[in-house]
Every structure is written in structure tokens, then in C-alpha cells.
Point group: C2
Chain length 268, copies 2
């Protein structure tokens, strides 16, 4: 199935600075936290190492994720500041075609940020945004302080949660609650990557449009076919393939003595 | 010689969040630019992959750097926002024991930031800080716009420049001007790392204290011995060793299926 999927041919590297600018703009408007800028930098480093393209293991993970999202009863897409800044439009589109709810879910909660994120999502067509203000009064266990707050109509009752850019503690807590967690995380070694049911090691800016494309292809398939795709996916093995790709890429670069022109500490 | 050097035994991982907090605090006070937060994240990712410790290749590079700094006629330490935020005290100490001048050198120049950085350095004992205001009116060629500004009493006439966290263009320009450039950069694949005369692939927070320790050991050696240390150092080979270390570490992790607990997208 994955062979049919075409990766968009544009070079994401040329977009990297534009993405960074978008993040900084959203930082200034209160959508992104200062720690979110640092986290973005970590993601950039991994993305550069991966070659700033969607890999075959990522495509496999997206396909499996699409299958479980299409067979979910209560799917929810969890959105934080960075996700809203970088992929609000795609997130809203994905929620519409999968009937997934959208929930604001922050590590550093503040009503200002919740509202700013809600506004960004509404501006691109979201009609209902959970997890804002009093709505986020349910608690998930085993997670400290404010990070445990979720919406009783959203993540609390969800069977499948898509978490672009989530922290490890919450991912682990959600999995322990019996939920299927789809993570989008550029770092294949993170706790989130390791705990999630399905880990898409890719930049959300590239991954979600492909996700939408695959959903579109799979939505006419019967449930049995979808369940087969989901059940034959092996997350640990797929993560191993990504680490192996990084490994091979570094090998090649080291042998050639070639540097990555993008990885410098520019703009300090 | 490097065998004699003991790496401090404390675990830097426990310090990583404190370092991040220090950076954010300095961002709020105008010392660090928003792009500096993103750059810090990129550094964090590489540091995690390296195991957050000073490696043997880094120690070799520090030793060679100490040798050329001790034999320099006009050594200058270039300081930007991130360097001032994370290592001001050590930078001032290093400048004192090597008689190197300190120059503020920014990618995004603003008099507010120049003054904020100068103040941070003076608070920890710097008596003279170059590159602030009108002093930074000399230009280095081949570098665009404001980034080319340097102090005519500092970098312009320097024979050795230590650049913790520098961008590739400027590193290249300084090398072309015939200067020996010592870079401290966590990314062994960056253009800075590749262009510099000596590249220390390490976190400045760990590297500069070791640098001071090594200077202390080498300062009594004669010039011939120091020149021997410098001339036998091979930067490309040492960078290759670092890439090889990363490579082996990823291999081990991929085989064990073990995650790095630190690499998650926490605090978004």
C-alpha cells in the first residue's frame, strides 16, 4: 500500500527558515511557549539528520495510524502551541475527515495560551475546540500538576489520541489508560516515541498532509482491511528502521567528509 | 597529555533543565535572541546524542586549542547572547588567564542586546568588553550586512579567535582572513565545525571549565612544546572520530531498543 504514496517533491529545507519564522511569530502572539522554541530546535536537529524528508518507515507508520484513526470510536487530536503554530490548517482538515475532536492540551497551561491556540484553530475552520478553560477539568492519573488536565468530553473518553509533539509522561499515562496513542515526534529515541502505540518520526508540517492523503485513500476500505493494516504494524521495528536510517546517513556523511550546510548555529 | 585530564564526574543531564532555565531567564532580560532559543534546542539534541559528556576527541581539541591560545599574540574571545547566558563567568576567567580580549559579536545586532551582554560580562568581572556600539565599526569582508561588524581593536587584528557558538559564514570569513579559529559547537556536521581551525564538539558549559584547567597545566610549557601540540592536531580526523562516536552510540541504542529518556519534547 505504501508504495502508492507519493512524497511531495518540494524541498522542505528551503522551508525550514519559513517554518522557524512562523514559530517565532506565534511565540510573539502567545501561542508558543519559550520552551516550545527550544523544543523546535531539537526537532530541527533531528529533521536535518533525517534529511528533512518523510522516510519509508514514517509512511508505514502514517498508514497504520490512518487505519486506527478510521476505526476509532472516539478519536481526539491533541494540540499544543507548536502544533497550532505549524499545522493548524492541516489539523482542522484531518479532524474533519476523521471526525476526530480537537483538544488543546498544554504542558504549561495558561488561559491566555489556551485561548490564543483556540483562536488560531478557529481562524482556519475549527468549529469546536475542547480543553479550554473549565472544560479541561478532568484529570489523568500519574501525571504531575497541571499537565494532567484533560477534557472530560475529549481525551478522557477517547480510544485513540493523536499527539503531535507530546511529552513522555503524558504519552505513557495515556497508554496505561488503555488508549491507542499516535505520536508525531522527530526524535525516534524519545520516551514519547517509545511509549506510543504508533510513532510517526517526521515533521508535522510534512506528515499531516500525507496523513490526510492516506486517510482519503483508506476511507473506502472495509473495517477488516483497516484492522489488518493496524495489527500488522510493529512500532518497535519501525523505530529501529528509523534509527538505522540515521545511522547510515551519518556513516555516509562521515565517510564523504561532507557537512550538512543547514546545521549551523546561525542567527545567534 | 589528554590522558591526565579528568572529566568532572557530575552528570550533566541533571543540569540540562537548569541550563535551559538560565537561557530562558536571559532571553527575558534581552541577552538571548528568540532564534538563540531554537539554536539551543539544536545543540541539546546533539548533546543528548553525544551522551552529554565531554568526549575524548573534544578533550584533544581543547588541548590543541589551549596550545594555540597560549602562543597567540592577539587572542580574542567572541561572545554572543547564548555564550554570555551560559558561560559568562568561565569566559571572563578564560580571558584573564590567557590575556584574550572579549568582544561582543552578534548575528542580530541591537544596541540593547550589546549592552545587555556587556553588563552580564561585567557583572562577573570583565573589565573591558569590545564590540559594543561605535567600537564595532570595522568590517570583515564576505559576510552580509550587520553580521560583518567587528571591533578594530579586537577581532579585526586578532590572530586567534575563540568563537563559542558561531555561524558558518563568519567562521569561514575569519579563516579566510588568515585567523586561527577555535569553534565550540555541538554539531560536528555544521559548517562552523568544518571551517574552523580547531573544533571543540562539546557543550560550552562543560568545555570552558576544562579549557581553563588545561590552560593551567600547559601555561608553564615552552613555546616549542605548545607549537608541537597545535601542529600535530588534525581537525578533520578529530571530527571524524566524533561522528564515529555518535554512530556507535546510535548503533548500540538501536540494537538494545533502549530510548534516551532525555530526548522527549517535554514542556511544550
Amino acid at each position: 500500500m505504501t508504495e502508492e504514496i507519493k512524497i511531495p517533491q518540494k524541498h522542505p529545507r528551503t522551508e525550514s527558515l519559513r517554518i522557524r519564522e512562523r514559530l517565532i511569530k506565534n511565540f510573539k502572539s502567545g501561542v508558543v511557549a519559550s520552551a516550545g522554541l527550544i523544543a523546535h530546535g531539537r526537532g530541527e536537529a533531528f529533521d536535518y539528520i533525517l534529511g528533512e524528508k518523510t522516510t519509508q518507515p514514517a509512511l508505514k507508520a502514517i498508514e497504520a495510524a490512518a487505519a486506527i484513526l478510521l476505526t476509532a470510536e472516539h478519536p481526539v487530536i491533541s494540540v499544543n502551541g507548536n502544533a497550532a503554530a505549524l499545522a493548524s490548517k492541516d489539523i482542522v482538515e484531518l479532524s474533519k475527515i476523521t471526525k476526530a475532536k480537537i483538544e488543546v492540551n498544554l504542558f504549561y497551561r495558561s488561559s491566555e495560551r489556551e485561548i490564543a491556540i483556540k483562536r488560531v484553530l478557529e481562524e482556519v475552520g475549527a468549529t469546536k475546540v475542547l480543553g479550554v478553560g473549565e472544560a479541561a477539568s478532568a484529570r489523568i492519573s500519574e501525571v504531575g500538576s497541571e499537565r494532567r488536565r484533560v477534557d472530560s468530553k475529549g481525551i478522557l473518553i477517547a480510544d485513540v489520541v493523536l499527539v503531535p509533539l507530546e511529552d513522555g509522561d503524558r504519552t505513557e499515562a495515556l497508554v496505561r489508560m488503555g488508549k491507542k496513542v499516535i505520536a508525531i515526534d522527530l526524535n525516534p529515541l524519545s520516551r514519547t516515541a517509545q511509549f506510543a502505540t504508533i510513532t510517526i518520526v517526521d515533521n508535522i508540517v510534512r506528515a499531516i498532509p500525507i496523513f490526510i492523503e492516506i486517510i482519503d485513500k483508506l476511507k473506502t476500505k472495509d473495517k477488516k482491511k483497516l484492522e489488518h493494516i493496524a495489527s500488522t504494524f510493529d512500532n518497535k521495528r519501525t523505530l529501529g528502521e528509523v534509527i538505522d536510517l540515521i545511522h547510515r546517513r551519518l556513516s555516509e556523511l562521515a565517510e564523504k567528509g561532507v557537512y550538512l550546510p543547514i546545521l549551523e548555529v546561525e542567527e545567534l
